[in-house]
């Protein structure tokens, strides 16, 4: 599995060579677009990071976690991973830190540890992705897209806890 992506890179370059494409020129032409892309993404990242960090610094996230732990437990999500489920849509690095905390506190191979692993693997940083994807467009009204994605992530978390119980 470690070879797939590297081999793909080689394959693209070799194909270019065989088809007599100007590989070097094309690469540079494509790569040039990356700067403007990250420039348009950047302010949205700043906004998201401010929200997440201020929320965390004010201790509000701990409060919300405590508040939501009992209802989450009713639907089968252990209270140890509630914070992970809640933070995941906002921050990839933040949820990775929480995942590490869960591993260290409860053990990597414990039920809670495996739950947290599957929750992390099967969910996505929805708000982060939304801000990046729509950064370069005029789209301001995203309609059902974000609610649907959030709901799916949440259902995925419930499924993860259920699956880890039986597998």
């Amino acid at each position: 599995m470690n070879y797939v992506v590297p081999l793909l890179l080689v394959a693209v370059l070799v194909t270019g060579l065989c088809k007599r494409v100007n590989v070097y020129d094309s690469f540079v032409l494509g790569a040039r677009k990356s700067f403007n892309l990250s420039l348009s993404v950047f302010p949205y990242l700043a906004a998201i990071f401010i929200m997440v960090n201020v929320l965390h610094a004010s201790g509000a996230d701990v409060w919300i976690t405590k508040l939501l732990a009992p209802p989450f437990e009713c639907i089968g999500i252990p209270r140890e991973v509630v914070q992970l489920v809640l933070l995941r849509p906002f921050s990839g690095s933040g949820s990775l830190a929480i995942l590490t905390d869960v591993y260290n506190a409860y053990g990597v191979d414990s039920y809670v540890g495996r739950c947290a692993s599957v929750i992390m693997g099967s969910s996505e940083t929805v708000f982060y992705v939304a801000s990046v994807y729509f950064a370069d467009t005029k789209v301001r009204k995203t309609g059902w897209a974000i609610p649907i994605a959030l709901l799916c992530n949440f259902l995925g978390a419930i499924a993860a806890c259920l699956l880890c119980r039986i597998m």
Binding site: S38, V41, G59, S117, E124, A149, G156
Partner: protein, 184 residues
């Protein structure tokens, strides 16, 4: 997004001002610096993939990929422009390979191609949901972290993970069909 961001940030800022006024500014400035370094990191990743994609495009490899996924794309997105379909196929392939970072530039290109107005179309919504719930064959980051912390079997989460992501993808696509109707 406007309302959510403003309400959450304002409330949290007020709370933080009340608890620890001296840390407010440093937290905000740190967040922005964090955004700068994240954007720079992304810039590097996009640079590689956009370069490679351009080469693949010139070799007509993306055309072939697009033909492979044509039926699936037609079902999910309906009739979209040829350029958009190529980006969508590229995005799907990157997602399946688990190269999440490569999926982002192609998704952005596809969305730029399909979105003209200020309201997200069905195509854009579908693309977003597919990416947000994407089937991931190998959750490489999680497995790596498990291995480094001494798990007896780091990859024993593969199967539940695969089932969970497949489940969210199916539900996500079904919900887009419910909300927006069939593809035209």
């Amino acid at each position: 997004m406007n309302i959510v961001w403003t309400v959450v940030t304002a409330t949290a800022l007020a709370a933080l001002t009340f608890i620890e006024p001296q840390s407010v500014l440093s937290v905000c400035v740190d967040s922005c610096s964090q955004a700068v370094s994240a954007a720079l990191g992304l810039c590097g990743v996009y640079c590689l993939w956009l370069g490679i994609f351009e080469v693949a495009e010139r070799c007509k490899l993306v055309e072939g990929l697009s033909a492979c996924f044509h039926r699936l794309n037609k079902f999910l997105y309906g009739n979209v422009s040829q350029a958009a379909e190529r980006y969508i196929s590229l995005n799907l392939a990157s997602n399946m390979l688990g190269v999440g970072n490569a999926a982002t530039p192609s998704a952005i290109a596809a969305i730029k191609e399909t979105e003209r107005g200020d309201t997200l179309s069905r195509t854009g919504a579908m693309l977003f949901v597919v990416n947000a719930t994407s089937v991931q064959l190998i959750p490489a980051t999680v497995i790596g972290l498990r291995a480094s912390l001494g798990s007896a079997n780091p990859s024993d989460i593969l199967l539940p993970n695969l089932i969970a992501t497949a489940f969210t993808s199916v539900v996500g696509v079904a919900l887009v069909f419910c909300a927006y109707g069939r593809a035209k």
